[in-house]
């Protein structure tokens, strides 16, 4: 359910861009999706196949680059992936703080045919 409106938005953005470039068809869409953005790639593809019918996106493939969330250590400054039930830095043990890494959710590029 959650991915439905977001998939509509992806199609809308890609179509708008492709139309401006006089494309006849969109072949593929590359998304960058952080694990914390809360969207499931398989669900996006599933909705996409249904909603894209009759649009420039029909038949396009969705390629997803996943990004693992990282915290930044408040002690030594290194970036790390957290363990379950802990925010401690694996190098020095100090707590990490949140960063924007892992929250990405954007269309990086599209492949179009003209």
């Amino acid at each position: 359910m959650h991915e439905f409106p977001i998939t509509q938005q992806i199609i809308k953005l890609a179509e708008k861009h492709a139309t401006e470039l006089c494309a006849s068809r969109i072949k593929s869409i590359k998304l960058v999706v952080g694990d914390y953005c809360g969207f499931v790639g398989d669900s996006i593809q599933m909705y996409f196949d249904v909603i894209s019918e009759g649009t420039l996106c029909e038949g396009a493939t969705i390629e997803i680059e996943h990004v693992k969330p990282k915290m930044k250590c408040t002690g030594c400054g290194s970036l790390f992936e957290r363990e379950f039930l802990s925010f401690a830095c694996p190098k020095c043990g100090a707590d990490g703080e949140p960063t924007e890494i892992g929250k990405e959710f954007y269309i990086e590029s599209i492949e179009i045919e003209r």
Binding site: L85, F87, E97, I107, E108, E113
Partner: protein
């Protein structure tokens, strides 16, 4: 023969939602309405918390938008107390988004300055990802959910501007590890105020209401100063890199 071309887009998929949210935010700020996005898992006492805060709120008229997947039980409950309440049913969707709130707000007559509480869908995951035009995200957490919640649902705790820890009257009967809970909260969100309350006894809500009144006042003053500032980006949650912990 077709000409295939790869084009960079770098288009943020949330842009349209965020654009509508900031529109709602500006509109309501102009009308002296302070907007609170109330988030929390099902059963944490979101509606009970609202009722208790509203009871303690001075000089500001409360307005409520109730977001539910189905039913209007909470809306009828709040209306019976004389609170201006409006219902949104999402019929399956797990969070409210900016267009839903934007449409609903058009139907509300804000006849006095006040606070608009928007009770989001009971869910600790998705609501944190969508701005709906709020000045403040208020997370309701409880001692009955367990002290590991900041570690399991970090985004909700990171994004919160205020955290309510509800049901503290039950602490004697539970193994809630407050130190572990607060350590998780502080790692994610250094300065967020945490209010311990009990919907059962009513303790702690006067402090929450006073905090809201102060924030609403600051928002109004800040807005007044910013008028005409075309760079008036609304509230962005930045974390400074200072090393001081509580």
């Amino acid at each position: 023969m077709h000409d295939v071309l790869k084009v960079n887009m770098m288009a943020n998929i949330h842009d349209e939602n965020d654009h509508i949210a900031s529109h709602t935010n500006e509109d309501l700020t102009d009308r002296h309405i302070y907007v609170i996005n109330v988030m929390g898992a099902p059963g944490v006492g979101k509606t009970t918390t609202l009722k208790n805060i509203i009871k303690n709120l001075k000089g500001l008229k409360p307005y409520v938008i109730e977001g539910d997947i189905e039913s209007d039980i909470d809306t009828r409950d709040l209306r019976s107390l004389g609170i201006d309440t409006f219902q949104i049913n999402t019929f399956g969707a797990c969070h409210l988004d900016a267009p839903m709130i934007h449409n609903q707000v058009q139907n509300i007559k804000f006849d006095e300055k006040g606070v608009l509480f928007i009770e989001n869908i009971g869910n600790l995951v998705c609501p944190a990802e969508f701005s709906i035009g709020e000045h403040c995200k208020m997370l309701i957490s409880t001692v009955t959910e367990g002290s590991d919640k900041p570690y399991k649902y970090p985004l909700a705790f990171e994004k919160a501007d205020a955290i309510i820890l509800n049901k503290v009257d039950l602490l004697p009967y539970l193994d809630f590890d407050e130190e572990f809970y607060m350590k998780g909260v502080r790692a994610l969100n250094k300065e967020v105020p945490v209010f311990k309350v009990s919907g059962k006894t009513g303790e702690g809500f006067a402090e929450v209401a006073a905090w809201i009144q102060e924030r609403a006042q600051e928002e109004k003053t800040a807005h007044h100063h910013h008028h005409g500032d075309e760079n008036g980006h609304h509230h962005h949650h930045e974390h400074d890199t200072a090393h001081n912990h509580d």
